[in-house]
């Protein structure tokens, strides 16, 4: 049943610009570095011995923002497809379990998020090669900087989907999304327990893996809470 719902959900996001946004996010992040390196490449290369590492750090400085913003937009788009003509009632009156309906929506979003991460990795690698940053390409670091922020952002995805799918007023998830972006922007000053800080991979122990673990764990918990709440509610 899950497979059928998934293919139906992928059909529904046609022509809604979700695929385009998934491409635009990672492209935008790397494009900012194109401007940065385009204007002052020599200066930037002097800043560090490890040119690849420094480049990846620069790319990463905008990744959390793009992810948090992207999640807010994608979740409210996905929910608005069903909310627009209250198609929830039609969908849930079909022989499907509400839990699977919710899981399918989450899976579509997770797939888009990881597709965006993969694109980020490809674009970073491509521009890095173009900049000629050195012979030894740090593939492991590249993968870490591409996938870790997305994994650490899973709680935000779960939270935004929860809010978007139970609110009739799409202003609410958008507002939460905007606050999320502001939080992500100021992650330097945020305490470690705030989920919006996690995609920045910063913490007091300087160990990105902690953010990833926390992200996946808390993401699963928030997902389950959202799914149970969604299933419990009456469909209006």
């Amino acid at each position: 049943m899950m497979g059928r719902l998934l293919t139906a959900d992928f059909l529904k996001i046609k022509r809604k610009g979700l695929w385009f946004l998934t491409l635009l996010g990672p492209f935008g992040v790397v494009a900012l570095q194109m401007v940065n390196y385009g204007v002052r490449k020599d200066y930037l290369l002097q800043q560090s011995e490890d040119d690849w590492g420094y480049f990846l750090l620069n790319v990463h400085s905008f990744t959390p923002l793009a992810i948090v913003l992207g999640i807010a937009i994608l979740t409210s788009f996905i929910a608005s497809i069903e909310n627009e003509t209250n198609a929830w009632k039609q969908l849930i009156a079909l022989p499907v379990s509400k839990l699977t309906v919710y899981l399918s929506k989450f899976t579509v979003l997770a797939i888009l998020l990881f597709l965006a991460s993969t694109l980020l990795m490809i674009f970073s690698l491509g521009y890095g090669l173009f900049l000629n940053l050195g012979e030894t390409i740090p593939y492991l670091e590249l993968a870490k900087f591409s996938y870790f922020p997305a994994l650490a952002a899973l709680p935000i995805l779960a939270l935004q989907l929860w809010i978007a799918s139970v609110s009739h007023n799409q202003g609410i998830p958008i507002t939460v999304g905007i606050f999320g972006v502001i939080f992500a922007y100021s992650s330097y000053v945020l305490p470690d327990w705030m989920i919006w800080k996690w995609p920045s991979l910063m913490n007091q122990w300087n160990e990105p893996m902690i953010n990833v673990m926390l992200g996946v764990g808390t993401g699963i918990l928030l997902y389950i809470a959202g799914m149970i709440d969604f299933a419990r509610r009456d469909v209006k």
Binding site: L5, T7, L11, R15, Q90, I92, A93, P95
Partner: protein, 303 residues
Amino acid sequence: MEYIVQTQNLSKRFGKEQAVSNMNLQIRKGEIYGFLGPNGAGKTTTIRMLLGLMKPSSGTIKIFQKDITKERIQILANVGSLVENPSYYPHLTAYENLEAIRKILGVSKSRIDEVLEIVRLKEAANKKVKGFSLGMKQRLGIAASLLHNPELLILDEPTNGLDPSGIIEIRNLIKRLPKEYGMTIIISSHLLSEIDQMATQVGIVSKGKLIFQDSIEAMRQFAQPKVTFKVNNSEKGWRSLLANGIKADYRDGVIFLEECSDEKVAHIVQVLVQEGISIFRVEEEKRSLEEIFLQMTTGEQAI
């Protein structure tokens, strides 16, 4: 007798408001069940509970002899529905809309063309639903509900907001379904004339209570005609009728009788003529079902 749908003491409350109380619906196979009531009487809430969209506060629902809370998915596999305003995905074409639902139902692709044919939307199949008229959207909704050839079809106000030709079209479609496909249909409406022309059984709901449930013929029994007499001296005429043992009523200068056989009318005329009263008019006033419906549903409010 086996019921396709049977509810027992079905109730739903929203906070303090009792939307549906102690409803006992009984719907047999092959019926077109007209679910009638004024706006806000609890029709849509009941239908949502039948579809498992809302959980009843108390009471049970059995569809195909199965409990909806326990076997919701198995039941819904044989139920098609259209609840209130049609739901659709405006950015997709009619075909894609049905395809999205077909994928979930797991029926064959050829069904899409079949149902588009049934609701006559074939020409518009590849147009975006955004540009459809309300009637077309409504028909698309019905097409979606027919995709898996359900045994039970639940339509909530399917003719709401349609123009007369659209209403006739949908009415003919609905009448066809039980005959051609052996479906049982529940159709809700706040317009009695709608139900009158389609339904075989009627349930009337007012303020969340089922106040009448029987065949449409039984309801028509209520529509007994009333006979009125207009004469030159009504009061005298009325008194003489009473003196002759005929129970008549007198109001606003007219004499009138409920339930009046042909012989009785002849007898009354004879009595009046013998009393020397001029008879101007003898009229039969048919009470329409509308009146009965209004009487039933507003009587409740007056209390």
